[in-house]
Symmetry: C2
Subunit: 345 residues, 2 copies
Amino acid sequence: MVALRAQIRDEPMAADHKIDVSRRSLMAGAALAAMASAAPMAAQTAPKPTPKQMPGIHKHKVGSIDLLSITDGTVSFPRLDNFVSNVPADEVARTLEASFLPTDAITLTFTPVVLNTSGRLVVIDTGVGEAAFIQSNGVGGQFRNNLAAAGYSVADVDQVLITHFHADHIGGLVTADNKPAFPNAQIYVPAAEYAYWMDSSNMPKTPSEAMVANFKRARRIFGVLGSTVKKFDGGVELAPGVTSMSTHGHTPGHSSFIVTSGADKVIIQGDVTTHPALFIRHPNWHGATDMDPVQAEQTRRRLYDQAVAEKTVIYGFHFPFPALGHLAREDDGYRLVSVMWNSAP
Amino acid sequence: MVALRAQIRDEPMAADHKIDVSRRSLMAGAALAAMASAAPMAAQTAPKPTPKQMPGIHKHKVGSIDLLSITDGTVSFPRLDNFVSNVPADEVARTLEASFLPTDAITLTFTPVVLNTSGRLVVIDTGVGEAAFIQSNGVGGQFRNNLAAAGYSVADVDQVLITHFHADHIGGLVTADNKPAFPNAQIYVPAAEYAYWMDSSNMPKTPSEAMVANFKRARRIFGVLGSTVKKFDGGVELAPGVTSMSTHGHTPGHSSFIVTSGADKVIIQGDVTTHPALFIRHPNWHGATDMDPVQAEQTRRRLYDQAVAEKTVIYGFHFPFPALGHLAREDDGYRLVSVMWNSAP
């Protein structure tokens, strides 16, 4: 490595004089000796460590509303054979490969939304939170810190809107010590979602341990939040320019939000699709976490057909950061075309 | 807005009780009066302004080398009729539309690379710089500040490698007051590029004012940097794991860099393609800034065919942030599939 550095730093390379690597290696010692005092570089400084990954924070304008995408991190699922319920694992692997994604695990990214609308700060979905509801290997649960990096504290948040009651969406509603994580915020949840998970008669019908855990988690979190939580149906304006829309299927009360300001519009779709490379490309594939997969597919196609026709921007909790894209038709499915990164201040 | 806020904050919305917006409007005044004291929200605080757009900084691992994408901003070109030299403006507009991009202007993003390789800090291309070589309307020229946001100062940079001598790539080599912008860095430029722009016999052959400006700018910048600048040819390892590759066509000496560590590899392609939505999709389109457009197309196809075959990650100075993607074949051209955002610390 010393010899290599010597070549790089000290060897003259004339414009009209091509030097191949082997010859350069032979010359390196001599060049080092000859040019040590004439080297134009600064004295060798201690290696600087690379910074940690920066918080993923991106601002997108929706008319007069600012939409911030703020990453919560990712969680990886090691098994390909139980992520899609109606397709074999090798077909899942082929689709991941076609998107240049690893096939040894399926990684889902989590990106809560923060809206600044008429001076109100509105968070949509919360990430996995501090309570380790999902094994994230330290990569998930960044939202609270990343919100701070964007200049806001949890105390600044006026409203939290929830799409559905899976752990990566509601986990951040409470702290590790079971207190409300957004102390000054009014929490809004889909009425049908709340009714389903709070009805104890639904629990025995559930097929898996994971579902039982979902019930217990929801009860724990909404036990902490108590009766202050407000429930909404579809078609209600919950904050200036932010209207709920029923998109049931992924869960019984799964909801989305339409954000409009002037001529601009973004649909916050929650989990109408979870992993975009799988279910946008193949809307007929059924996610193992889609509780009513047939209804989920109908909802997906209805929303996406409309988005294609109207060229609507869709925000997906699990879409590649900054989680914003347009949809184009491709074969029997769709293709996600990410929105260009906005560098304007 | 007061009435709307009252609805949002204070109206009870029962799970079993769908309330439509018109009824809610009528109820708002009464609800406000009835619930003012019982509202579970914090006292109304002053609206918090949305933060400025965060610096675009993203870390990608190439084996043991850290590759940081750091945005310099964007520049928009208002005319569609002189951006592509062999295709009419309406065809350019249709292709932009198919990528859901505006058609009133063409926006190019600028993303210099910072490599941390064996403790050395290597910058590849510099952005437009402070000297207003390009009219960026205040959006370009962010690299120096964004580098600081990543935890580095310009004095930490050990080497700067240049792909070619267009303003958005070399503009940041000098400060506004004509000093070297990276005071401790050894600057490396393609030998053929340096030879072309420094040969005054080439200037009278140039067809446009823009080209004359390019010559004058290059001479001004390399006049400041003087004889310390080193020139390289293709196939030379300039920093640990960073090897030059001749990719002439866009300019006479245009060069790329292959970054390898272990089994990992990224090709830093400079301007083999400028706007990805245009020239990756249509590699036979000729950019107006491609100085030898036939050679540029050959270079593009050769590099991209190899990238498709080997599934190589390509880094493009003008690709959507974080400027990293794979290429897939599509019709007679290619499609860029962006690399998933990496949230791991």
